[in-house]
Symmetry: C2
Subunit: 292 residues, 2 copies
Amino acid sequence: MSEHPVLEKLSSNKCFEGELIKYKFKSSALGDLDAQFNLYLPPSVSKGKVPLLTYLAGLTCTEDNGAQKGAFFQVASAQGIALLFPDTSPRGAGVPGEDADWDFGTGAGFYLDATNPAYSKNYNMLTHVTVELPQVIEANNLPIDLGRQSIFGHSMGGHGALTLYLASKTKQYRSASAFAPITNPTKCPWGEKAFNGYLQGGIEEAKAIYDATELISKSEGSVHILIDYGTGDNFYKQGQLLPENFLKAARDAGYDEFQVRVRSQDGYDHSYYFISTFAADHIHFHANFLKA
Amino acid sequence: MSEHPVLEKLSSNKCFEGELIKYKFKSSALGDLDAQFNLYLPPSVSKGKVPLLTYLAGLTCTEDNGAQKGAFFQVASAQGIALLFPDTSPRGAGVPGEDADWDFGTGAGFYLDATNPAYSKNYNMLTHVTVELPQVIEANNLPIDLGRQSIFGHSMGGHGALTLYLASKTKQYRSASAFAPITNPTKCPWGEKAFNGYLQGGIEEAKAIYDATELISKSEGSVHILIDYGTGDNFYKQGQLLPENFLKAARDAGYDEFQVRVRSQDGYDHSYYFISTFAADHIHFHANFLKA
């Protein structure tokens, strides 16, 4: 990977006295394809480096959905936290069939590193999010304190946030939270399809590293996790999210509600209207750890 | 106009304990075309009827932009105010050329009633917003107190909010506010194009009823107006908005800063990132009058 990828600034918008910047660069992790991300810098960057909260979006989304619809910036501005919005997959890899379905391929990278040779050149969102983007931020002297990172996300991005948090051997993130996450993907249709497509070893390969319920059951040491899901969420009803499985595994592993909090929100659905309602809660949750 | 148009509920999303509902109905004002709107009902509708704040969106937008990106619902929920999001034009009228430009025709109704015969059957957003939608709300027994209405909007929708407020002989709205509004459309390219297209009498016809700067200069009695615009707004720089003209006309007409407040926001642009930053200010402004 290049040590100093060139960042091209595509746009900048002032928002709650801070700045939202869209960048483009050539991503080694994604097979030298162009990748875009949004970065929100709170006004407090004028006084020094700020902690980083990464937001992982869901199926079909891009780096824009969370920025446009999440209603995250008021609290991020007030708390002095930068927000990083990666894309959800490589774009234009040219793998046959990658655009055939909305829940696999383009827009559906599942925050893993593919081992199936058809995908392994480009579909490496795990490395892109956890290694490459922080390197790019550092190499370009952006005012971020990479020693203070947390992560959150929605749906597939909630899966990403929980698994990247729990699987990180370096404890890269101080806390993780999720809106309507896929918490047990080896047991739901979305996850089965993704793992069987991206991974040579399929679901068995995924269990050890890409399933939050499996990971929490084997976790040791303290964790800081907040999950919200809505009872009116059709994907919850269809068994794609399975938050009860995650909650049971966490409790069985000895984690109490102060370490793993899973909240059922009456009548809320899978949309950004749900996310925006609890956005402030989540950023305040992470602020506890990012500013500690 | 039908007294009891049938409302079809297309979707519902819970948001900040209230409900955002998307409706469709056959619009007489728009020439019997299907029209859609979003309506946000705060949780306080369980205790009785609530006041209504109408949000008019800008060029190219639909009933969804403000709902998805405006970050209006937290304060609307807390203040107990319903929000109405109309579309920005008729859809599918079939007038030759209506889809040729982004700033005229579809998505660009300018909140007027057309007098050019080519457009007068369908392009009647003034009647749609001020007469038809309230009638539809009443006929369908939605929990809205139509005796308490205010209006706000963005860009072309800011033009709509200011002109509908100032021109209403019945004082339909208690207050008006706008983000980056077109305030003197008879003197800017967007307005000239719209008026010359929609109105038989062109710009001269528009001056008396569709130009906020002209209207404020002839207004009598107290008004309640708040305007925010950003100094980084390219449309402001290009002379499409002309807030200085509106401000001067208001001061010349004797309105002080308690009645007409025009705020220049340093570095903000024309986007919803700007709107969301000042969204809470605007809803609190209207709450002063809607809850009086």
